[in-house]
Symmetry: C2
Subunit: 331 residues, 2 copies
């Protein structure tokens, strides 16, 4: 068994209260006794039991992070950013993969509450009302990353997906492309990512172009979706460019194009989204809109830690900057 505060107290010849005092640096402790206690701590390699402390203080110094799937390209960097700042402030993170499944999410949230996490970083492209209710009922301090809710009831860190998509589409248009296709998420889901379609739509309209449904493909966010998307779109139409809702989709699209004898960027311009770690490694290097993934995680965690410690927030709806990265998939 590891040494407990009692052992230290005995070793130092003081009461456990005194040990606690030097441990937490509170009250005034005589320099001599403090030293005796510190020596005892060192001698016994004592480390406080945080579970016991948590029970008393009602704070666990741990934060839950709920992601759809850590093995998806987007999340590891966000989580890394979050964990780095958590670590700075002596917090740890409990990672949960929900697969965006409502029941799984609810159960995880309940368990996080049972384990008394101090707060939660919630990431999911969709955000059901039931989840909001649960968060509310459990009074679980949470900040949203990637999504936000209209009322602004929960703090969030996001980028302006619609505007980013707008800019990307405009960029494609300004390159002289007429027929610009879109491959992305189904638009019927109320999530952040599907708002990219709205940006695409608006950019076309603002340029006096009607959106042509046969140029739009709704699927997932994987390479296979980009591949399928191109094949479907090319069945009935010709295109000059494609705006893809993720880099992986862009890569899949480029592969499909190539298999059809079409070259990117010579024949078709392709634009991605995210700027994941492979975007600059792929051939051709993917032009994309970069999302500050690491920062989304780190500012999200910073906000959350402030909230947890009742510190005032400068702003509770952070909108981070995205930026267009011009590489080789757009000529």
């Amino acid at each position: 068994m590891a040494a407990s505060i009692k052992d230290v107290a005995r070793e130092a010849g003081v009461s456990i209260a005194t040990v606690s005092r030097v441990l937490n640096n509170v009250d005034v402790v005589n320099e001599d006794t403090k030293k005796r206690v510190q020596d005892a701590i060192k001698k016994l390699s004592y480390r406080p039991n945080i579970v016991a402390r948590s029970l008393k203080t009602q704070k666990t110094k741990t934060i839950g992070i709920l992601v759809p799937d850590i093995s998806n390209q987007f999340y590891p960097e966000v989580v890394r950013g979050a964990e780095d700042v958590a670590n700075i402030y002596d917090y740890n993170i409990i990672l949960c993969n929900s697969d965006s499944d409502l029941d799984k999410e609810k159960e995880y949230i309940r368990v996080l509450k049972e384990k008394m996490v101090d707060g939660m970083l919630y990431m999911s492209s969709s955000l059901e009302g039931e989840i909001l209710d649960l968060i509310d009922e459990l009074e679980l301090k949470t900040v949203l990353v990637e999504t936000k809710i209209s009322g602004g009831k929960l703090p969030s860190v996001t980028i302006d997906n619609k505007k980013a998509a707008y800019d990307a589409t405009k960029y494609l248009l300004e390159k002289g492309n007429k027929k610009v296709a879109y491959i992305g998420l189904k638009k019927d889901r109320t999530n952040a990512v599907s708002r990219r379609y709205n940006g695409y739509e608006k950019a076309l309209k603002d340029s006096g172009i009607e959106v042509d449904p046969s140029l739009v493909y709704f699927g997932g966010l994987k390479a296979a979706d980009g591949y399928n998307g191109i094949n479907v779109i090319l069945e009935n139409s010709e295109i000059d460019a494609v705006f893809c809702a993720s880099d992986e989709v862009a890569m899949g699209a480029i592969n499909a194009l190539r298999d059809k004898g079409l070259d990117c960027p010579k024949d078709v311009d392709v634009m991605g989204f995210n700027d994941n770690s492979m975007a600059a490694v792929f051939y051709p290097k993917i032009s994309t809109v970069a999302q500050p993934m690491y920062d989304m995680g780190s500012v999200g965690m910073r906000m959350l830690i402030k909230i947890v410690n009742n510190k005032p927030l400068d702003d509770d709806q952070y909108v981070l900057q995205y930026y267009l990265v011009e590489r080789d998939s757009v000529k």
Copy 2:
């Protein structure tokens, strides 16, 4: 405040002991009182406080996972595999990024102990003696993933890196390649990944080929390392093929080749390692040795959970199967 066991007891008109009994399904409880308790639980939306339970039982139902960096290609899948099985058995995971930094690792391990995790999954390409000592001193139940230690003192799940590299190199040789280069990790570190070099070396020797130092480049495991590696190697030599210690290195190598006017696989065969999610998306599709990353995580977690619950292990040094994936980067 959330309801506590006391509230439930009061509501149901029983003692807290009885509530605890129905909660944990121990002893025999009268059906009627059991129902009363269950009703009270439902009525109050009661959920046990796991921190309090943990303090008493000395088990937290949480497992620490130490990885170098979750934003590296390899780890997300392993972690996903681990978390999935953890979830099945009602465990949660605390994720820690160590950057393979010894001090950070030591501190994380101590904190995990303070938080009374039931066990730890340790992943790191290198495994210093100090870490082993600390694990030992803290009596922290741990299983090693990706590495193992010679004595077999700690349970592990790995693949045979040397043999896998041997097979890959042989494969390249059998394709008729004479000058086969190697780009991978510095071999001076005692880690699992650098053993791939030993496999490469042995394959050459077994084929009666002397290893030519100018065909070997030691760097990191990123695309940039593959890119640099090719440039350095090509300064003094010509090559027929390259065996790369990761898929990212392979991609970087292929890019460098292309920039030099060399085509893969026409001019040079390139072999990767891992079979990460981009390997089949890259052009050309990367031929590689597939590591069962998800499985490494899931069997690692399975072992750990058995250990934590004092169940016997069938085997404590699992060596999982890798397999060669033939795609397009080798002709």
